[in-house]
């Protein structure tokens, strides 16, 4: 049980961060990740357009389920998007993504040397993220 893959996409739809979080997750090449991120971004726009009911927030997919994994997505108002895949029946994914957003706001956005919308290469972000992932996986496995 647990988290599999995390992606962070900027508001233009480009991949700025991806991380394989488990041995269960598929092996994806850097090109695969770039392609998945831009597909996801385009798909979210289409999903909103196809809505049969008017929407206040204009969000796109929040949760996606398949026979082998679930995907949870989160998009704050600024337009950056986070999505994570996890084993079926993993709980609290929405809370996990909000916690990821908090770390992003602290160690990426508040880092004066991070260039906006560029790929994230910040050690403190990675360290805090790893701690958060371990905490979630342990909580799930306990």
């Amino acid at each position: 049980m647990g988290l599999q893959y995390l992606f962070v996409i900027n508001k233009a739809g480009s991949l700025i961060f991806d991380r394989r979080l488990s041995e269960n997750a598929p092996q994806l090449s850097p090109n695969d990740c770039l392609h998945l991120a831009s597909t996801f971004h385009g798909m979210q726009l289409l999903v909103q357009q196809l809505s049969p009911e008017p929407s206040d927030h204009g969000f796109g997919i929040v949760t996606l389920e398949t026979e082998s994994y679930v995907l949870q997505a989160y998009r704050p108002e600024t337009g950056v998007q986070f999505f994570v895949t996890a084993d079926l029946k993993t709980e609290n994914l929405a809370a996990f993504l909000r916690d990821v957003y908090v770390i992003y706001a602290d160690y990426v956005m508040k880092n004066p040397f991070y260039e906006l919308d560029m790929p994230i290469k910040v050690d403190r972000w990675e360290a805090h993220l790893k701690r958060l992932v371990d905490k979630y996986n342990n909580r799930v496995n306990v």
Binding site: L28, P52, H57, F59, T63, E65, T85
Partner: protein, 141 residues
């Protein structure tokens, strides 16, 4: 809880059936909407399978947005059954109903109808009324 609409596509992207029960946003252009829906489903399916630890089980069963839920079932012959409901109905149980629609409505009233040309729009009263009554009988309707 509500069911909004239903789409059935074949593997070439032809919309064999579109049925609506409740939909506040009226369609400007039905054929555009259907093309966009098929395109989105095609992209979604490939995206979903790529991310799956087991590609054989990577096909999406449903997704939920803030407003609606889309349930998806595809057959090995390339037929895609789609049911759009309100977002509180999002569950794999509703996707299972799509397999029943395949077996009990499509196979019985379209495939076994010798006058129906495969790959064309299904315009038969009997098929549409069976589809309608089946969906109306669902708990999420």
């Amino acid at each position: 809880m509500a069911v909004y609409c239903f789409y059935l596509f074949d593997r070439t992207g032809t919309c064999l059936c579109y049925y609506e029960w409740n939909r506040s946003r009226s369609l400007q252009d039905a054929s555009d909407d259907q093309k966009n829906m098929f395109g989105m489903l095609f992209a979604l399916r490939n995206f979903s399978v790529k991310l799956s630890p087991d590609p054989a089980k990577g096909v999406p069963t449903f997704f939920v947005t803030d407003v609606y839920a889309l349930h998806y079932f595809e057959t090995p012959t390339g037929l895609r059954f789609v049911l759009i409901t309100s977002h509180d109905c999002g569950s794999v149980d509703v996707t299972r109903h799509l397999t029943d629609i395949y077996a009990e409505v499509y196979v019985e009233y379209a495939i076994k109808n010798p006058l129906y040309v495969k790959g064309s729009k299904i315009d038969y009263e009997l098929f549409l009324s069976k589809l309608d009554s089946y969906v109306r009988s669902l708990p999420c309707f």
